[in-house]
Symmetry: C2
């Protein structure tokens, strides 16, 4: 149950068995069915969640009711609204499970305890937030500078396991195009590269 998350953090810090136990003891395991809303816009995000198995998305609904997906998360990824979590202020986002999903959740209180008892974890969380920043910076550059087709290809490259698992209109909402246009992109790709 905890092997993966321990491997995940061990890529950046080395932990004793005691520290591992402290860590895993502060995690709350949660199993949720498809379509479970884990965070609702307007609420305060009370978790950083590690995905053991399954898939989720974090998205914003704009004033016109349009959804924009900020990111997907699959196995071995973390998902949270860090802005809301850290500053304990209302979120602008929804987080929803897209499949039956197994999560390990860390509450603000338990995170504080963890950082207090095992300060090394500061590093992990700094790295997590830095990664989010770099990822979204790159995405902004692509959104501004590249064509929808290029962004689609980048998406498939970044989330190779996602396309078959989620409906295409979700991918459209991530890429920043209409669902119909994803269909056109796919047609073009199919005709360009029939059998490699």
């Amino acid at each position: 149950m905890f092997e993966n998350i321990l491997l995940n953090v061990s890529r950046n810090i080395t932990l004793t068995d005691d520290e591992k136990n402290t860590f895993t003891g502060l995690l709350e395991r949660r199993m949720v069915p498809r379509k479970t809303v884990l965070l609702r816009a307007g609420d305060i995000c009370q978790f950083e969640a590690y995905i053991v198995k399954g898939c989720a998305r974090i998205y914003h609904v704009d004033i016109n009711g349009c959804e924009i997906i900020l990111s997907f998360a699959v196995e071995d990824w973390w998902i949270s609204d860090l802005a809301s979590f850290h500053e304990q202020k209302p979120s602008m986002f929804f987080i929803e499970a897209l499949e039956k999903t197994e999560l390990l959740m860390l509450s603000p209180k338990n995170k504080q305890r963890l950082l207090h008892e095992v300060p090394k974890f500061e590093r992990i969380f700094r790295i997590l937030i830095e990664r989010s920043l770099y990822t979204i910076q790159n995405r902004l550059l692509s959104t501004i500078g590249k064509s929808a087709m290029d962004r689609y290809l980048e998406f498939v490259d970044m989330y190779p396991t996602v396309p078959p698992r989620v409906p295409q209109y979700h991918i459209a909402s991530y890429i920043g195009v209409s669902p119909e246009f994803i269909s056109i992109i796919r047609r073009r790709l199919a005709s360009k590269a029939p059998i490699p």
Copy 2:
């Protein structure tokens, strides 16, 4: 010379006079003329810089030679490529002064010293990186979900002092439109709201 930066950090942490001196002693003051390139893509970013006076931009040049501005920084803002600085890896960005600019620069070595001697500063730098993340998240949502006109208005709102100081093609490059289109947006705004 240090009043502003001390006010800046004091909004988030309380410092003794000793700690203030430790901090300011680790900063390197630099005065650069307009068009100075402080960081070149491919190089490793060796500073986090606080702007005392002046104005700078951080931008990416894509494979077609097109520039995309990631952000502007004016008085009382920090500027750096955190990805490159933290992981000491080559940057994808250029940082350039847009005016004669006075900076206070913190090197990686001095930052380490600072964090070691005054661990409270962890908080400041975590907040800085979090702010970058939230800012760019919002910008991505605008870029995907809003019209160029709305993005222009948001820009003017966010950087009220910038538009007269920098050429409009830089603003275009931030908004993600052609310089010509900024011109059209301005014309539309002028005709819509002549005298309020």
